[in-house]
Symmetry: C2
């Protein structure tokens, strides 16, 4: 079992606060994500600024692309992104078109996706998925449970590299013990902490303690 | 049966060419859409510029929002959008959160949505849907067929206002004769024409001929 990555999601509504937050922890985390909210507000500048600040980090454009995969992926790649997300309800041709234009595609799992879908993604060469506890679902009182963990395990058993996100804290990481999680993604779990750098280091230390 | 609207989709990768195209036809069309590609490239500026140029038109932010509906909708509304799209795989809490912050939500239909989903959207007060022939599916050789028209009719019968989009031309409008389509959405069907204003007027005339 390899050490899961730590990814910071920048879901700010403006670039200045995103930059202020990311520069506190950019050196600590493994992957930096330009969140959907941020990209819809400031466009490719989010990716371009992150790339300029962190030339050697993996950068994800969380476009949740549903269509025109080729164009969106080309734009993201040119802006400096390594990976880009597609929504699970995108068609296979959309995902394939996107995959041709950028290093890797990650499928964002929302709503009623099936393992049959997952097999189609794998067959199309898409090997990354993001298991997402919806922020709004979390607000509505739902949380990580055995059902979620079973789904994550099943996807990993099928051969997918699975990132998990949604309401994660240092304390919740141990829920995933024994599961070969690819990446833990958190936003405010780090940025909203009183000491974001310490929070990022705490995440890394707990990941190392459990999976190291 | 009321007269369907004509909506122009601006799916450009940069703002200058979007503005050059939109100003040719903005006065003719009923609804102006800041496309997903454009918003991911230039952010809220797309909506802000369209609102500044066309203070009295309906403006749609095609965010295909999958999560954080409240934040995305608030941002779009503040930028000047009337309507915003959510992807069909977004959770109901996401759609409800979005609907609280903007005039109307439109559900973008991709992948394996069901009529049971549609009923849930209606029950949540979401009454607009966009039936979308995927651009990549069109590239892969798929086109409008009887199956699509039946689905559009069924959604309308359920009580949804349905916009249709994907590979539409003046010639294909008559396929929808007898169907109470809410809005026809086209991008390059107008912008790629040798005379975009004439193309927009031709669309309007054909809509009036069939539904007037």
């Amino acid at each position: 079992m390899s050490l899961p990555n730590l990814q910071i999601a920048c879901d700010h509504s403006d670039l200045p606060t995103a930059l202020a937050d990311i520069t506190k922890v950019g050196d600590v985390v493994d992957i930096i994500e330009a969140g959907t909210i941020l990209m819809l507000q400031v466009g490719e500048y989010a990716v371009k600024c992150f790339r300029a600040l962190y030339p050697d980090k993996k950068i994800v454009a969380d476009t949740k692309c549903a269509d025109a995969g080729g164009t969106v992926a080309k734009n993201c790649s040119e802006a400096g992104a390594n990976w880009m997300t597609c929504i699970c309800s995108a068609t296979i041709p959309t995902m394939i078109a996107a995959a041709k234009e950028i290093e890797e595609i990650q499928v964002e799992l929302y709503g009623d996706w099936t393992y049959e879908n997952a097999q189609q993604w794998l067959d199309a060469g898409i090997t990354q998925a993001i298991y997402h506890q919806s922020r709004d679902a979390l607000f509505a009182g739902e949380t990580w449970g055995e059902k979620d963990l079973k789904r994550v395990k099943k996807l990993i058993d099928m051969g997918m590299k699975v990132s998990v996100t949604g309401g994660l804290s240092v304390e919740t990481l141990k829920l995933f013990e024994g599961i070969d999680v690819h990446t833990f993604i958190t936003g405010r779990g780090i940025t909203a902490a009183s000491d974001p750098k310490k929070a990022a280091l705490d995440f890394k230390a707990e990941i190392k303690r459990i999976w190291g």
